[in-house]
Symmetry: C2
Subunit: 501 residues, 2 copies
């Protein structure tokens, strides 16, 4: 074997272990009987240990070095080596003892969080969250020492959004906050109440599933390389480009969570189905960042799924699926797809207020990591932040600081990727609209192929060969900014609420 082949063969093994773990996790969320819980946890933990062992095996580092020496001016192999080194350095930077303690604390934190949330009792969660925060600092310091990033928060963020920095987010999310808050306040003050009746009623699960399946297939989600199942929380998981699965959860009295959930996950899944086959199981054969991943789901869910053009195509299908909706029109439905309502729960938030939920979390978690805020202060800080940003105040920690699983999982630095996704989606869609002749007309006629092709070409095919920033700038001609997203929101808000800001 050539030195490149040796390196890539080792990498394919590591990817296979991750792929196996992903199948087990999918099964756990969708099919596993209750009795399998304990054993599955053990099996997944063994696979995680094996993957870590292989990633930090000195023989791999040596294989990467040899491949690097042999790369010459092969830019692809060069990029493979670069990404592999990054992953190896990340995995190796955290000492084994710390990694084990982190796994133990995270596992404990999850159980404690679930109970604390059920009991609406932050004090029982505070000690283990303190452990999570302290260990995240330790982990971040180890990553900084290894040269992964310059600052603590950046080192954590880098796991989910490689290359992004706290400084960049302070600008980007600060801008969002400054512009969104008055917009949301103007909507609230307007007193306009949207008629949501076209989106509510009684929607049989089987009919929702059939409509969701037709829509996902029409967008370009390939059911021959995927499947759709029920789960408590919708998610997408890909084992390789040939097997990328999505899940959904319908509401019986509102079609929106079901349908838009499927479109969202289909967007994630089409990214993974579109990763180049020739890069599969190599360091480049994965999504570049969670922010870019989220841009793919949000683009299909929001920019496409909540557009008039889409509903010109979708409405007859909607009416066929749900008897008694014959009188629904695109114009009657459109406002119900763009309601703006400040609320307490992130996962139920509309597309305008959603980012303020993210801003709140970003502000709080970076102070936690900087050490300028203590865990004990979180409930009040959370409530004050919501008051300030959204004008609403939780009356219970269940609807406040305990609502999300992320911190209990040790995922600090994850939340900003949701906002990045929203911004990137709007910026990419604008660029696609400029590049594709009559995109709205195509969408209105159910021809989604040109848009998918454009995303394949500008996003999917690169895998991890371009950084997220490079990808956005190449695809849209300008660096990432909040302007396209804010323009999109201002347009719909003007349209639906008659408000111009």
């Amino acid at each position: 074997m050539s030195s490149a082949d040796t390196f890539l063969a080792r990498w394919a093994d590591i990817t296979a272990i991750g792929s196996a773990a992903a199948v087990l996790s999918w099964d756990q969320e969708t099919k596993m009987p209750a009795g399998g819980q304990a054993g599955r946890g053990q099996t997944l933990s063994v696979l995680a240990g094996l993957q870590h062992d292989h990633l930090t095996d000195p023989a791999l580092a040596e294989a990467i070095d040899r491949a690097s020496d042999a790369a010459g001016d092969d830019p692809v192999l060069d990029a493979q080596v670069r990404m592999a080194r990054r992953d190896v350095v990340r995995a190796s930077a955290v000492p084994g003892d710390l990694a084990r303690r982190m796994a133990e604390v995270r596992s404990r934190a999850l159980g404690v969080w679930q109970q604390a949330r059920a009991d609406a009792d932050f004090s029982s969660f505070a000690p283990v969250l303190t452990d999570v925060v302290e260990m995240s600092k330790e982990q971040a310091d180890a990553l900084v020492a290894a040269g992964i990033a310059e600052h603590r928060y950046d080192a954590l963020l880098d796991e989910y959004e490689p290359g992004a920095t706290e400084a960049q987010l302070v600008t980007l999310l600060g801008d969002l906050r400054d512009q969104l808050s008055p917009l949301v306040k103007a909507v609230t003050d307007s007193g306009v109440v949207i008629d949501e009746s076209p989106a509510t009623g009684s929607f049989a699960e089987a009919a929702q599933l059939e409509l969701g399946t037709v829509v996902a297939g029409a967008l370009g989600y390939d059911f021959e390389s995927g499947r759709l199942d029920l789960s408590a929380h919708p998610f997408t998981t890909g084992f390789d480009p040939g097997d990328v699965r999505i899940t959904w959860r319908p509401e019986p009295d509102d079609f929106r969570p079901g349908l838009f959930g499927i479109m969202h996950e289909a967007g994630h899944a089409m990214y993974e189905q579109g990763l180049p086959t020739e890069l599969a199981r190599t360091p480049l054969g994965a999504a570049v960042s969670l922010g870019i991943h989220e841009s793919q789901s949000r683009l299909w869910e929001n920019q496409v799924g909540r557009s008039r053009a889409f509903w010109e195509w979708a409405l007859p299908r909607f009416q066929q699926a749900f008897p008694g909706t014959d009188s629904v029109t695109v114009e009657a439905l459109f406002p119900a797809l763009h309601t703006v309502t400040p609320s307490l729960i992130r996962v139920e938030a509309d597309e305008a207020t959603y980012n303020l939920h993210i801003v709140a979390r970003f502000e709080i978690e970076r102070q936690l990591i900087a050490g300028s805020v203590e865990v004990a202060d979180l409930p009040d800080l959370w409530n004050d932040t919501y008051d300030e940003l959204l004008g609403v105040r939780p009356t219970s920690v269940t609807d406040g600081v305990l609502q999300d699983i992320h911190w209990a999982m040790g995922a600090i630095g994850y939340f900003p990727t949701y906002a990045i996704g929203n911004l990137v989606a709007a910026q990419l869609f604008d660029a696609a609209t400029g590049a594709i002749d009559d995109l709205p007309g195509r969408i209105a006629s159910g021809d989604f192929a040109p848009l998918l092709e454009w995303l394949r070409d500008n996003v999917h095919r690169h895998g991890r060969a371009l950084s997220a920033d490079e990808l956005v700038e190449r695809a849209t001609g300008v660096p990432l900014s909040s302007a396209p997203f804010l323009d999109y929101l201002r347009t719909t808000t003007a349209d639906v609420y008659g408000i111009r800001l």
Copy 2:
């Protein structure tokens, strides 16, 4: 960690890899989209390699030695060490180069076999089957050299039925052949035709599923630790005692394959669900042999499922599931559960002729391994053997020598375990009938718990702590013989066909 803990922790990791692979295989047979095929094959191959690496790691052998030194007079740890050594020796005996060649040839053989079977063309399969046979000989010789067994065929058999020998099977299966052949011939010559109409008609899949679920649950299959799915070929797979899954395939016009298939797989699954939790993920925490495994499936399928007592309980449930069957009686149905019809296809064979299919394969494969028969001679030898044993002769290799997947998978020495299972089932059921007060009455009232408890106590709870032979003798008081099975068959044949031999 104590030396025992170190040894068992390593073993638990190896078991976890196997458990992960089993989940992936289940998914592949039941849920995986077509696009996942290639990637899944690669992932499974990586897991198999990892498991082999860990099993043959010198550090494991050392851990076993240390645990052995520390075992003192702890009989359980002693048994753990003994079984672990056996598995390590088996895995280490085959040189890495041969193991890789075997994996490659088997994978190739499967594809060639499928095509050859579709084309009814043995000559296209013969070369790769020759490779399989030659490599099986090589493998067997390596195992004999490592002290696993004294003779080639024994070494192969030992993988599926540890401790069994060709010599023992020559007696056991020879006896079966000598007694079964005249019985089957007498039935054929009698000219009696069974009225199968109570078992045939139109059986909606949903109703079959509901009945099968009710029956499996009543027998004692725990759906909280398992699930039932469709698959092309029914099978059982267990990831640990808390997650043991079964599959089925219904026929629309005959309820028997669906219902008896589910009872069969539930029997397998109750064995795995009944393995002691405290032995889970240790060398003793598995089924002792495929023959004993098959005895559990056959006992519930045949000794229970085809009995009058069972149908006294089941008939009202059957009639409720399938409209229009109100006039069916136990007496009318009973003969249709015990038809004896010599046929060409093993998997469709009745309980009497089934073992003659096994005898045929055993006779042929041991000659192949001994080198006294060439692959090229197989089609004629197969047909002649069927003529002699069953009085039927295939007109196509598709219904003849190409019907089974086993040899293409390199599984030589596997077939006899089916016959062993049939014999053990009858012998165990006789012993249980002697030990349980009014077992038929209990079964007729739907009280299957005493029988399951007896099997838990005499079979399941031992895991691999007793050998198959020890287990049968302890449970039944006598060594394994064909007498109880032949008595069982003679009784039903006398009952249904009026033939006494």
